[in-house]
């Protein structure tokens, strides 16, 4: 673990009254290693280590902590602060319906989390409508309809012949007619470099004017997280992140990468396949810090 490695580093360097620049640099090699193993993007690691080095050098070694504990504390604090605030609320439009759109790479967990969000909102007394805007993936609509049925939430779909922006336009009209105050749009997975599909996404945004544009990111994603998040953010102006599959053992360093490249808040963590209470957690940075540091 990182604390073991840091203890080994400081043992070699011996006890001192202040953290010298060399001590800190030696310790930072271990921090850098831990973060890279956790899949934090290389550039983000560099910036993070530079920031922590600056904070740590010259710090008075606390009487209650060993130097390695001191460095870990600084690293943890910095990680918590970078990962962002806990419990940033979902938009709640003054003129309903509030429109939420889920976007992201293939297989990230969008369809599953559209249903989880709908359940979460219903538990809060809202009246959500799910919209099946993925006309490409075989049985994608059946999947969302099945999940909606499981939790008794209506799903608006038009099959696969209509174009997603048109489906969404009519879904909004339907939501208003049915007095649904939340509309959750499930979109098809797409590569951030797929020009046609990224343009389609921008078209959906134009039509739907979503109050929330959430990027759904799989916790096991590696270095590419930065490029993916950056491009989605440029095309769709994200308002939040949902970080999924953290019930696995992926370290999840991508959370730091995505957060630092977009500046957008992580709003939810996905922790389970089932659509039930407990598989969608409201974000708390501490929830990710220990696993990222290993």
């Amino acid at each position: 673990s990182l604390s073991d490695r840091l203890q080994a580093v400081f043992k070699k360097l011996g006890g001192k009254g202040r953290l010298s620049e060399e001590d800190v640099r030696e310790a930072m090699k271990q921090v850098r290693l831990a973060l890279l193993e956790a899949d934090v993007n290389l550039q983000v690691v560099r910036e993070f280590v530079a920031k922590v080095t600056e904070r740590a050098v010259g710090e008075e070694v606390s009487r209650s902590l060993t130097p390695s504990q001191q460095v870990i504390k600084i690293v943890r604090d910095e990680l918590v602060s970078l990962l962002g605030e806990a419990e940033v609320p979902l938009a709640d439009a003054t003129l309903p319906p509030t429109v939420i759109m889920l976007v992201g790479l293939q297989g990230a967990g969008k369809t599953t989390h559209a249903a989880k969000l709908a359940l979460h909102l219903r538990k809060k007394g809202k009246r959500p409508l799910l919209v099946a805007a993925d006309v490409y993936r075989p049985a994608a609509i059946a999947q969302l309809e099945s999940l909606g049925k499981q939790v008794n939430i209506p799903v608006y779909s038009e099959g696969t012949t209509a174009k997603p922006p048109e489906i969404v336009a009519r879904a909004l009209a339907h939501a208003r007619a049915e007095h649904c105050n939340y509309v959750i749009i499930d979109t098809a997975g797409r590569l951030q470099v797929d020009e046609v599909l990224m343009t389609e996404l921008a078209d959906i945004v134009t039509v739907a004017q979503p109050h929330e544009r959430l990027l759904v990111v799989d916790a096991m994603i590696g270095q590419e997280a930065v490029r993916v998040a950056d491009e989605f953010n440029k095309r769709v102006a994200l308002s939040g992140i949902i970080f999924t599959k953290i019930d696995g053992d992926a370290r999840g360093g991508a959370a730091l990468s995505v957060r630092s490249v977009t500046g957008v808040p992580i709003k939810f963590l996905g922790t389970g396949e089932k659509i039930e209470v407990g598989t969608l957690e409201v974000f708390h940075p501490e929830r990710l810090v220990s696993r990222i540091l290993g």
């Binding site: 890279l36 059946a142 999947q143 590569l191 096991m220 997280a225 599959k245």
Partner: protein
Amino acid sequence: AALFGGALNAQVWDDLEDLLVQADVGVNTTTELVKRVKERVRRAGVKEPAEAQQMLHEEMVKILMDQDVPLSQTTKPHVVLVVGVNGAGKTTLIAKLAHRYLDKNQKVVLAAGDTFRAAASEQLETWGARVGVPVVSRGQGGDPGAVVYDAMDVATSTDCDVVIIDTAGRLHAKVNLMQELTKLRNIIRRKMPDAPHEVILVIDATTGQNGVLQAKAFAAASDVTAVAITKMDGTAKGGIAFAIAQEIQRPVRYVGTGEKMTDLALFDATTFVDALFA
């Protein structure tokens, strides 16, 4: 200090390391590779960065080629089990494999072994209809073992060449789900002694270091015979393949290059490494 004279200096090595780390090769594998190449460079007295990079290419190709085993299809039906974490691309890969076998005039049947996830059977059935192959399924909530049993019966009785079995995505950290996978593999084995003849582990090209843990766990639970790397049409380089190949000592056989049934390539180590450096 610059170990080499001229242009092949520490900066060159740093840049090469960065490139590998950013391609998800991982710090340990990168360090190993660079160490090996530096030694070769030293012994051969290489001065040019381009030559050093070429040696790095070769060492990387070697890691992958060391695991290369020719694909053999000697029994009928040839039973293929497809496994991997959630959303990696298993079901889509199966459609692509079915299409490939059909193209070679082989008779194929698919088994909808994911009886857990919403619309998983429908998804495979839709693919089966598009590709033109039958699908044995029992819908959501059924017993995966029963589906697999039925499918193998159908394969034998209808003289199929290949039966490809889809399984539910599962996070390898979930012990009970991995045990379920071992159970499924044992059911296949009891039904037909050398089956499954292939167990394909599906890995998403965007996967980071967790990919090694996935490979380890799936290999232990189901005796993975080969790896398929999907979504290589994105910007990810699939660099985790090197650590995976070394960890489970199995070849990468297939590469997913898109969402259509024709978006399947046979793995070629040189092409893969070239693309990583592109």
